[in-house]
């Protein structure tokens, strides 16, 4: 764990929606080292929709809005209607909707953990 906090994400199920697997792998490492119980990776809008309708319980989602040529922004509404805390991970801040929690790429371990705690309204 690099400047993150071991155990602060204990027990959480975190969904990482990211088309670049190298980046998703890094997010998974940070989340697991911070204690996440389960990290689910997805890289396409339809895959996320199937996951949401499958009934799996997600505590927080980290969403890249550009999945290759696919625009993932329609998923924002689907997460908010389910009251799933949502973080937008992007390299372009102008991309994010007003009010969304931003995780700017590239990010440090501590940044990743801090925004998740912020989304969950837990003290950092």
């Amino acid at each position: 764990m690099q400047n993150g906090a071991i155990g602060v994400l204990n027990g959480l199920t975190i969904l990482i929606v990211e088309d670049e697997y190298l980046i998703a792998l890094e997010a998974q490492r940070i989340a697991e080292e911070a204690g996440a119980a389960q990290v689910i990776l997805a890289n396409a809008v339809e895959e996320v929709r199937k996951l949401l309708t499958s009934g799996v319980s997600i505590d927080v989602a980290v969403l890249d809005l550009r999945l290759g040529s696919e625009d993932a922004s329609p998923l924002i509404h689907e997460f908010t209607t389910r009251n799933t805390p949502l973080i937008i991970a992007t390299g372009l801040e102008a991309d994010i909707p007003i009010g969304a929690i931003l995780l700017a790429k590239p990010y440090r371990d501590a940044d990743f953990v801090a925004v998740i705690l912020s989304a969950l309204k837990r003290p950092v």
Partner: protein
């Protein structure tokens, strides 16, 4: 008798066309394609030969092209024409040179043509801004990938020198992938193999490439490059023979069209202690990036690696 100016080898001509993004073709009097060279991304020459534009293109696009070609045939005069093809959603601007062919009686027998995609010459300020935003997005994503490569490489190396060597090698793959994308816009398997396998081992005689010379998306080219780099790095200090082949698989469930199978086989027997991250790159990252699966087998006689690549990642 030696010629003062011998014709260049056909493969050099083809490579030049690919680099310049030029598509050349011949059609008969009924405007059926007789041959094509360097067709646009996503097309294979054998898919076009014998067909008309109406057989292979959206009808509205085909109608525009057909009219231009019939006008050229009727006039019997060669010339340039600029056409916008692809519809409102993805318009592309092409310069076409159409040269009618006639028999001794002056009757048209077909035409020769070439097409150049010149869309990039017509960017507007709005396009420029969008390109700049896209460039920032891609750069930040690339930095995030490099950061991940650095972290994962560091976790699998015991000494700073080893980290520098491994990390530098992987950064070089990304650098070469960007070069290949910038020079041709499309990346052929032979170019990836030349850059990631033949050049590092400095002995192209050890590397045999068979099967189709498929063209890959930028994403697939990068991750195939990373996979081949990991495999090739283990053979740098040996004289292991390497055989790489690519072919289309039969149609399988889960894909809209036939996927591609890329297979590596070598006689390397001293690379069993491959780092965990190298295996992760081969077995998880590369297949995830190209929408496929991977199988990596190490035996007493060598190694084999098979990567399935989804149809939308190659042409």
């Amino acid at each position: 008798m030696p010629q003062d100016h011998p014709l260049p080898p056909p493969q050099d001509i083809a490579r030049t066309l690919t680099g310049a993004g030029i598509f050349i073709f011949a059609q008969d009097a009924q405007l059926r394609y007789q041959w094509v060279e360097n067709p646009p991304a996503g097309w294979e020459a054998q898919d076009i030969s014998g067909k008309t534009d109406f057989d292979i293109l959206p009808q509205a696009t085909a109608a525009i092209l057909d009219m231009a070609k019939r006008t050229a045939l009727a006039s019997r005069r060669a010339g340039w024409t600029e056409l916008i093809l692809g519809g409102e959603e993805d318009p592309h601007r092409f310069d076409f040179y159409l040269q009618p062919e006639v028999d001794p009686n002056g009757q048209p027998t077909g035409l020769l043509g070439l097409a150049i995609d010149v869309t990039y010459r017509h960017t507007t300020p709005a396009n420029t801004e969008a390109l700049a935003r896209d460039s920032v997005h891609r750069s930040k994503n690339l930095l995030a990938m490099v950061q991940s490569l650095a972290t994962q490489t560091a976790r699998c190396t015991a000494y700073p020198d080893e980290f520098v060597e491994d990390f530098r090698g992987r950064i070089q793959v990304i650098s070469r992938a960007l070069d290949l994308q910038a020079t041709s816009g499309r990346v052929r398997l032979s170019d990836i193999v030349a850059a990631e396998v033949e050049a590092p081992v400095a002995d192209s005689g050890r590397v045999i490439l068979t099967g189709g010379d498929f063209v890959f998306s930028a994403n697939a080219a990068l991750h195939i490059g990373l996979a081949l780099h990991e495999l090739g790095a283990a053979t740098m200090q040996s004289d292991a023979a390497i055989h790489i082949t690519a072919d289309r698989m039969p149609q399988v469930d889960g894909y809209t069209a036939a996927p591609l199978r890329l297979r590596w086989e070598d006689s390397e027997v001293s690379a069993k202690d491959m780092h965990a991250f190298s295996r992760t790159l081969l077995e998880r990252i590369a297949p995830a990036a190209v929408g496929g699966k991977a199988v990596f087998v190490v035996s007493n006689t060598g190694r084999s690696y098979e990567l399935t690549i989804a149809p939308n990642e190659f042409g």
